[in-house]
């Protein structure tokens, strides 16, 4: 009863609100943060995630690997060519017959196009390039592509999202759909829309990926997390981006 009232109020506010919220009550978790933390995210000179953006910008034009090519040699000016790209990932890779997230796409480019050493998951360079590319979509609405392969991936992601796991026997949906907006241990339970990844998490004291966050959640409910780059994690990412469709990208976001 109270929850539905909150949703109704949010929906009403969404009609007039910033792109961080949708008319149906979905909203960026930034909206539940303190003004101080929102200010930290909004001021590029204070947002520590911008350090990763700057690292990524430098890497973008650095030649690498046996091919002696930089990202810029093929893709040109990222502020033009990469605009909106993160808002459309994970994307379907027809050649592979699988969904690929943005970090995975960058890692593939690294080995296949640049003939360079692989960028391991959560390595500073992979995070920096991903943050820099995703930053080019800041302010743009999340726009998951319509693709039959992706539809299956998302369906798998949705199943994973709603399946109870771990010793605590909780699903993602238990907290982030059913209990979002309520409190756990003094902090609000977020809706969990991945609008700002890679993001700077105060807890991590560093920039990290959505996969890192998903693995945290799994450990939190005492489940065995899937390894980085596992198809299950990409499927969850694909479902979450569809669930967040229309919300504005914030990369690099700041979260507690």
């Amino acid at each position: 009863m109270r929850a539905s009232l909150v949703v109704a109020v949010l929906a009403l506010a969404g009609l007039l609100g910033p792109p961080g919220r949708a008319a149906d009550g979905r909203r960026s978790d930034a909206e539940a943060m303190s003004p101080a933390l929102r200010a930290m995210q909004q001021d590029d000179a204070a947002n520590p995630g911008m350090l990763s953006v700057l690292d990524g910008e430098a890497l973008w034009s650095a030649k690498a690997g046996g091919a002696g090519r930089s990202c810029a040699d093929c893709h040109g000016d990222a502020t033009v060519s990469m605009k909106g790209v993160a808002a459309r990932h994970p994307a379907w890779d027809a050649g592979r017959g699988s969904a690929v997230d943005l970090a995975g796409r960058i890692a593939l480019c690294r080995t296949e196009r640049q003939d360079a050493a692989p960028l391991p998951p959560e390595s500073p360079d992979r995070l920096a390039l991903t943050t820099y590319v995703a930053h080019q979509s800041r302010g743009m609405p999340i726009a998951p592509p319509d693709d039959s392969g992706l539809r299956e991936t998302r369906a798998r992601g949705r199943t994973l999202f709603t399946t109870r796991i771990g010793q605590l026997n909780l699903s993602c949906a238990t907290c982030h759909d059913d209990l979002a907006g309520r409190r756990l241990g003094g902090t609000p339970i977020p809706q969990g829309h991945p609008v700002g990844y890679p993001l700077y998490r105060l807890e991590w004291q560093a920039t990290g990926s959505l996969q890192r966050r998903l693995r945290n959640c799994m450990t939190g409910v005492r489940a065995e997390p899937y390894p980085f780059d596992a198809p299950e994690l990409v499927a969850l990412e694909a479902y979450l981006m569809e669930r967040a469709a229309g919300l504005a990208m914030e990369t690099p976001a700041v979260r507690p």
């Binding site: 001021d43 000179a45 204070a46 520590p48 350090l51 700057l54 690292d55 004291q205």
Partner: protein
């Protein structure tokens, strides 16, 4: 080299008070945190930051482990003349890094 981000207005009127924001990538390892093997990780922090304006120190600060990782500092200076502001961070393990920014004062 650690990534640093320094924000100073490019131009200012003579006598105007301008805001300086300085952010640098650094773990600020406190020396009180256990590592994966259970032993305390050695302290590794930036313990001093200074800003000089055409060679004269106009702001300096001593930092302790209670400062956040990737330390952020915002302060102000009076735009007295055109020239260079130099930010220098120094600390444990011989850490030392400088960034310069130009300011044009009309």
């Amino acid at each position: 080299m650690a990534r640093a981000l320094v924000n100073v207005p490019k131009t200012a009127k003579r006598g105007e008070i301008v805001d300086v924001k300085a952010l640098i990538s650094h773990p600020m390892e406190t020396g009180y945190r256990p590592g994966p093997n259970g032993r305390l990780l050695a302290r590794d922090i930036i313990d001093r930051f200074a800003c000089t304006y055409n060679g004269t120190e106009v702001f300096a600060i001593d930092l302790h482990p209670a400062m956040s990782a990737n330390p952020y500092l915002a302060f102000s200076v009076v735009a007295t003349e055109s020239g260079t502001l130099t930010m220098t961070w120094s600390g444990d393990k011989g850490f030392r890094q400088s960034e310069t920014v130009a300011i044009e004062v009309a």
